[in-house]
Subunit: 387 residues, 4 copies
């Protein structure tokens, strides 16, 4: 029996993209109610969204500080259990900090902060407050990513030698930000998005995915980042050589000017015994290859998948051949985050290892260091820079 | 502004498959609340499910008749707006009939009934009561199915000449029903599932999809149905030649003994100018082919899709490259069904043509006639039987 | 050590399609020399082709009868060993008959003849003369078709229950024959092509492939054939239900008006244990599926393929990942045909079972009966017609 | 009318891989006769191969120097026109040099030499002798590579911004060279293969392909090469950042320890308007993508391909849907090489631009500089090294 958690929301106002995605994912399984929010920097728009969501108007706030006040003023049992932060990046840090301090659990969009220092401060704060902190590295929620992780951790691939991870998009091929398009505007504005452009928006997803699958850590990089679109103050393309702590090597490239590509995150991992391949755009399949045997296509929803990976089985709703996709992956992250809260607060009987399978504040710190190191290396002449 | 509709549920108790699927889909977009239900033929299990769903126990009923009584006893504003029927097939007719008569809108799983006569009675009743009736032909909810339908209705393919539709599954390759598996048991029991096995369970989806895409009607068939698994009282495989009212020809085959296939519904439609191809297991792509030009892969979430098909655009939640899947397709059917209710009851301002895009009682009648005709033709020696 | 065989050719003049294909395939492995021919019904064109082929002009003939005379007039060691017949269909029978009678081995394009009676006569003649007769059912030459055959014959799939085979093309979507296009003209002219249109041109390939893979024999069919293009005297589309001698069921459909399809022959075979799938357009892969394990993609050129199928290994020239295609498949048929000749005439040391793996006069008889039965059934009202 | 050219061969003895590939490709179209050779460093094996090829034994030589003598001793009209060099790499230079000096045209396997100096000497010699020199960069022979090149040169993609090219193989995952396997042995022995392992064996194919498609030149690289297998004296994996002369950026990675990959050369090229993608293992398709329109799949053998690219049309033998593959790609290189010889010697009437479309000595020099620069950069600490 799972208690329905009460969720508050920051961002996700009219015209926003990722906020509504969080809402759909959080609602899907019936374990979360969205009850409060400060949805937009413009209070009028925030209230408009609250109305569309059929929220009690007293729980729709003008800004996030008033939301903290308002929620703290309520009976504990009526307050939100956690807040989801889905604003532009520059707001993540102050919001997360203040909600943690006020005693709320936090789910935060990536990148966690704008600077490494902020990230470290948040890491410290999570430890001090003991609150549950989730970071929305969306793609780790896919069952087949969990299967891949478990195949590797169980030694099926042998020792990992090489990792290739790519994340090409094409939506910023032209200067879309000059047309007033909301997403393009803030994501190419260093004040709102941080120092990284494509590297901060999607490159860290790729880096995080490589580490999630393998359990290895990137410890040196050599990078070549570019702003192909004239006048764009942040990078829109990045090519990076990777070295991992174990001696594994790799390549990571991401781009927002790869015209015609949509959201083509994909990963190839080569071990001494077998290799695997996974594509986000066709997430229900995991390819396993070996030297002298047929290629295997593992398909989500089958019992042989759940037998190899309890985490994949837990993150599966539909039988094989009935495809699941991105919203379900995000819902998986919400479910593990939620069960971790329930275990702490309600003594939910749940396997700690399984429910802790969601990206957290440590991933956030690693992500910020990754962005920082890539930008530093790109500017200088040294070949390798340590993270 | 959409009013949140209150949904009651029949079926979907512990161990059921499709009921929970309905719940996730109905919840996703935030426009439906599940508030009541008779979830299982066993009242104990019904209450257990109600508890898991965090429902008010007064709204969890022992059986569907008590649910009608209970809901009617409430203030109209608190009553369920509609009921979703997700029980084994034999219950569809009496439940739908009684809820319609009691003044509720109805969403019903397919096949609509067990016999053609029941289907005709329901059709009459829907007309008499004026209630909104939805039939869960799941696959028509996919945006790329809607795109295909619109490409055809706008004449992009020319006149349709040939249609191939297949629906192979492999889960009944062995006598799974003898192991006590719940799904296999009732779906191979003629008393609960009706006279058709694979033809009733999935063949009618294929027939419905062919008619949905093309707007044509199957009017003659020649069929060869088989029960490959010894002792199985219903068919588990069907091969059927199709003739459409327009003179188009076609092939439909479905199977539950196609070992290794999961849920491989796919359709090919050939016109005088172009053809198209769509696969349910990779639902985000629609292939358009012509005689002398590159094959086109239309991908969900792009503006060129929404420009060709308003219905596809309306049924899309996520940007291109961020895959959507089956739950979202079902949610689309719930949304159109729900908006049709809202338009009638709340004067929601919505395009009648767009919101009426969900399978209805007429599709249910056609489906029952299709099953009936296939079984009749299979038993006899005449080559062609009219539907 | 293989003797280089001397090949003569009938058809394959300027503008022809399949003749040059035979030449490339026959030359590829260095075991055949093309030394003589009557390449066109027009002697001028025949000599023009001979010149392009750098042939000795004394071996280029005005017609096939003169070719028989001319070759018989030479020393036996200089004569052609065999003739390849690549003319329009109506010539196959007289040419094959006369060359067999004159003591030559024969490779013949499909369909073998125009009528069943001719086919039976040829069958008798092959027996009487003891000459080697090959029939160009091209697609049986692919290594992965051989692998599929061997997987089935070794019992990997269990008992075969269902077979789906399709062969859609789109090149006759419009009345191409009215533009004077050579291929379209004779292939839609019953005098040259025979009574079957699409069914004779490609449908028999599909039927042959189903029998090749499974070793089963089609013994009853129910067919619906159509001429969609106005004024076309032969069918351009066919949908057929199949029943096999073992009790297996199936579907075969072929078409030349499936606009946008190229040469999309594909087959699915379902057994009690596993199933397989193969596509001619991507011939280097064979898909093997089972109920509870990953789908396997077997890839040409690997040792695990050769270990399962000696015939596939024998028909492979390049390592895995270095694709082979149609010409190589045809060359495989030539190689087995040639080695059968060498074994008889030169006592080549070769495994009879392996080298006899090429389509022969019995396949030709079955093909003609298949066409005949399909046309008969399509015209009448009986549901099933025996072959 | 094309004269049949007489080809001699160096290498390609018993157990060799690429020599027999050259033979099949050269024979296929009927324009080349293989008449002489020194097939193996062991004269006994050389003669054994000559016998298998049904060659006149007087044209089978003990070594390449005797072959030069022997051929020069013949009447000019009987001599070989050109020699194909398919030996281990260390022999390429002396053989090519001596045959050029003796007045023969040369087709040479890649890499052209062992050192940059040798390459430059060969370049000078080709200029001095005026002989035709072809380099077997196999993959440029594919029609769809030619289509890609022409799409780019005609401006369809706009300005090229980014290029990703990969070439993973897995066959050297283990220390295969220690088992005595012939290919593995010489390809990992620096004396025979040169200083580069994977980079020299396959990396230069990838670099060449990127330059072939785009017409751009790589002018700076940053590389990380590795020998993953213990004791292997050359690299078996390479990850490389690319900068092109135009300002385009890129990534190249190749590997022989990517277990489970076969020969997975693939390229992605992103322009300001469109992008393209091509995979060697499925060579008949070219994918063209844009920002707001369906992805296009261009398929070999169609008239729309030949209309866009005369070179692709010229390199096509079979109609659409009838797949072609690697041998045909190599045959295309032989055909253009051969026609260049015929144009010079026989005044063949042929379009200079079309027939000169084969890799030549300049590509060979660039390839050797690429290998050299990659190895140099990998050893040092400078980030970027110019080629």
């Amino acid at each position: 029996m799972r208690r329905k958690l009460k969720m508050g929301m920051l961002g996700g106002g009219p015209g926003a993209f990722i906020g509504e995605v969080h809402r759909k994912a959080a609602r899907m399984d019936g374990f979360v109610d969205i009850v409060a929010g400060a949805f937009d920097i413009d209070p009028v728009k925030s209230h408009q969204m609250g109305k569309e969501l059929n929220l009690d108007s007293s729980r729709v706030y003008d800004d996030y500080k008033k939301m903290i006040e308002g929620e703290l003023a309520m009976d504990k049992k009526d307050r939100i259990d956690f807040v989801s932060i889905t604003t532009p990046n520059n707001w993540h840090f102050p919001m997360a900090r203040d909600f943690l301090k006020a005693g709320f659990h936090v789910m935060c969009e990536k990148p966690m902060t704008i600077t490494v220092d902020e990230a470290l401060e948040l890491q410290k704060l999570v430890e001090e407050t003991g609150k549950v902190f989730g970071l929305m590295h969306t793609y780790t929620g896919y069952p087949m990513a969990k299967l891949g992780k478990d195949l590797i951790s169980k030694g099926e691939l042998g020792n990992i030698r090489k990792i290739v991870v790519r994340y090409p998009q094409g939506w910023l091929t032209d200067a879309l930000e000059k047309t007033g398009q909301m997403q393009a505007s803030w994501r190419t504005d260093p004040k709102q998005t941080g120092a990284g452009g494509s590297i901060g928006d999607i490159g860290i997803h790729a880096a995080n995915l490589a580490e999630y699958f393998t359990g290895l850590r990137i410890n040196e990089i050599s990078a070549d980042i570019t702003s192909f679109v004239e006048g764009r103050p942040v990078d829109d393309d990045a090519n990076i050589l990777l070295r991992f702590d174990s001696g594994a090597k790799g390549v990571l490239f991401c781009s927002q000017i790869s015209v015609g590509e949509e959201n083509d995150l994909a990963i190839w991992i080569y071990g001494t015994k077998k290799s695997l391949e996974w594509h986000q755009e066709e997430p229900n399949y995991l390819y396993v290859k070996e030297g002298n045997g047929p290629m295997q296509v593992w398909k989500r929803g089958n019992s042989y998948v759940a037998e190899m990976s309890e985490a994949a089985g837990r993150g599966t709703r539909l039988p094989s051949g009935h495809p699941e996709a991105l919203l379900e992956a995000i819902a998986n992250i919400y479910n593990n985050f939620g069960d971790t809260i329930r275990k702490r607060e309600d003594n939910l009987d749940a396997d700690e290892k399984l429910i802790s399978d969601f990206p957290n504040v440590d991933d956030g710190v690693r992500g910020m260091k990754f962005i920082d190191t890539v930008i530093k290396n790109s500017k200088g002449n040294e070949k390798w820079t340590s993270i």
